[in-house]
């Protein structure tokens, strides 16, 4: 098992896992703390990309005979692009209505 987890360059699977976990939690942290809607959107993208890294790495290290993970990552990139496009359109609409893109605008409705 130990040999499986090291590729030609001698980098362990765990190193990439660490990268993706750090990206994931950085995304969650950013989503909760940023005040600007665009920055929140970027944080969500970090989360999505962290899972893309996971797919590619698991495929490359653990299941190299099939290409499932690679293709999943490709589809996810496309879907993330759609999501971003719609989110930016909605944020622009919000900017037109409120004059800025701060999350503090989003408090008219509560209760």
């Amino acid at each position: 098992m130990g040999e499986l987890l090291i590729n030609n360059a001698g980098v362990s699977l765990l190193v990439f896992q660490l990268v993706s976990l750090v990206m994931f939690f950085a995304g969650i942290y950013g989503f909760f703390t940023r005040r600007n809607l665009m920055m929140m959107l970027i944080s969500v993208e970090l989360i999505l990309n962290a899972s893309d890294i996971n797919f590619v790495i698991f495929n490359r290290y653990l299941f190299p005979e099939m290409m499932d993970g690679m293709f999943f990552a490709l589809f996810t990139i496309a879907i993330a692009a759609c999501e971003t496009a719609v989110a930016i359109a909605i944020i622009i609409n919000l900017y037109r209505n409120f004059g800025n893109a701060d999350v503090d605008n989003l408090k008219n409705m509560k209760g």
Binding site: F24, G27, F31, L37, M40, L41, V44, I47, L48, A50, S51, N54, F55, F58, N59, L62, F63, M66, D68, G69, F71, F72, F75, T76, I79, C82, E83, V86, A87, A89, I90, I91, N93, L94, N97, F98, N105, L106, N108, M109, K110, G111
Partner: protein
């Protein structure tokens, strides 16, 4: 099997896609006079699609198991079709103002494309198709929530919805990536036997479920519901609360059965607490709402908890009652939203206090609203009573007595706030009630269908038999 045969198995998706493309082309090519008939054209085409796909065919799978078809999926898709059709019938008011008139084509197109996503999600046999379906169902929905470009509330609701749904699907995707990493496959049939109780898989399970719970709006993930429901135009709100929620509940159930079948004790414990919290908090928050759309949002949260009672039992009876509950909930909720959308689009009034004395000016609308509230609360002769009764019995059959007791107590609490609306319409005095509203004929048809169904579906026993024949358990 030839390549073409694959498409024959997924005929409901293909026919929906054809309807969608015809409407898109019609929107582009029709002149000003043609566009006056947009709503009838959309309704007729969609009704045709609903009729064509009404009868279940033999089970099968396409594209190497990516797409799986079982007869029960035709039933749930037909329920979603009927709901969408009723919402289309009610949508005329939305385009009466000049500002909104040019957006008519987009509304029908976007609604149908979210429906296509839900179809794919329901009959997926592979996590990739499931994820694509989920995103196809939620991204156009965000644009529908932000549909009214000139309304600040609508923009706010849309922004909340797209950011939170992107966040939740990100977490779900992270869960999928660990499922892939630990099992080496993305097919449901291959993942299920490889699920062991190791730490990474439990983490994947929790991430995956929290993404789905967001769509069904179970309690720790419910905070978006009220704001989005209030901000969206009321026709879109009814779509969110019936079609989107119904499909998500069904998908949650099938995934728990197919994918996490070996985790049954884990998710039953998890759902047990989530259902108790969902029903109770949804009810308690509904008590203090003044805005009728927010009130229905919290009521729909607690109704989702009742659906959970059928999911937790994990039996054939559980699946039957969940589908039956969604069917009844559809008619009750759409009857209420038909009245609300007519009143909101004509007068702009959405507070419960505005409904004081509605009976004096609009006796028929008040009557429909009363029936809807009785059915949602579960008052005896109406369909809502039967569906609640069946879903409680399915949970009790598996030994969840405590859960059923909590749910029954909550039903009594919910009677208070549903009857508050009825009291406002019939008993409260008001010098200036909302003026008499003449709804258009399509909307009248939809309200008649809903009223008839609320009274009849509970009495006709064969509805439950039809569903039961096709259902499956763990």
């Amino acid at each position: 099997m030839s390549y073409f045969d694959n498409f024959l198995i997924m005929c409901s998706e293909v026919s929906l896609l054809i309807v969608l493309l015809i409407l898109l082309l019609f929107d582009i090519t029709a002149g000003k006079r043609g566009k006056q008939y947009f709503q009838p054209v959309a309704i007729l085409l969609f009704a045709l699609h609903t009729l064509l796909n009404f009868v279940p065919t033999a089970a099968g799978e396409a594209f190497g198991g990516m797409y799986q078809y079982q007869p029960v999926m035709t039933i749930i898709k037909s329920i979603l079709n009927v709901a969408t059709l009723i919402i289309f019938l009610q949508s005329k008011h939305l385009f009466e103002s000049i500002k909104m008139k040019s957006q008519q084509g987009e509304y029908y197109f976007l609604t149908l494309s979210t429906l296509l996503g839900m179809y794919l999600m329901i009959s997926s046999g592979h996590l990739l198709l499931f994820f694509i379906g989920l995103e196809t169902a939620s991204i156009p929905l965000a644009t529908l929530v932000a549909f009214n470009k000139h309304c600040k509330k609508s923009a706010e609701g849309g922004a909340k919805f797209i950011l939170l749904s992107a966040f939740s699907s990100g977490i779900l995707l992270f869960g999928i990536s660990y499922l892939y990493g630990t099992t080496g496959s993305l097919y449901f049939s291959e993942i299920a036997p490889r699920m062991a109780l190791n730490a990474l898989q439990i983490m994947a399970f929790i991430f995956f479920l929290s993404g789905l719970f967001f769509k069904v709006s179970f309690v720790p993930f419910h905070l978006w519901t009220a704001d989005v429901y209030e901000g969206a135009p009321s026709n879109v709100t009814s779509y969110l609360s019936v079609v989107s929620k119904g499909s998500a509940a069904f998908v949650l159930m099938t995934l728990l059965f197919k994918l996490f079948g070996s985790y049954v004790h884990e998710w039953q414990t998890l759902l047990f607490w989530i259902i108790i919290v969902t029903i109770t908090l949804g009810n308690l928050f509904a008590l203090r709402q003044q805005n009728i759309k927010r009130f229905l949002a919290f009521s729909s949260i607690s109704q989702a908890g009742y659906v959970g009672l059928g999911i937790i039992s994990g039996s054939t009876l559980g699946m039957t009652t969940v589908i039956y509950y969604i069917l009844v909930y559809l008619f009750s909720n759409l009857a209420a939203f038909g009245v609300i959308s007519a009143i909101e689009n004509r007068t702009g009034k959405i507070e419960i206090a505005d409904y004081n004395g509605l009976y004096q000016s609009n006796p028929k609308l008040s009557f429909v609203m009363m029936l809807a509230m009785f059915s949602l609360a579960g008052v005896a002769p109406f369909a809502g009573f039967m569906s609640k009764f069946f879903i409680f019995s399915s949970a009790a059959q598996q030994g969840f007595y405590l859960l059923v007791i909590v749910a029954v107590v909550n039903t009594i609490i919910s009677l208070y706030y549903y009857l508050r609306v009825v009291k406002a319409m019939f008993i409260n005095q008001n010098e200036q009630p909302i003026e008499t509203i003449n709804t258009d004929n399509w909307n009248k048809v939809s309200l008649v269908i809903c009223t008839g169904a609320i009274i009849l579906v509970g009495l006709l026993g064969f509805v439950l038999d039809i569903i039961e024949k096709q259902s499956f358990g763990l």
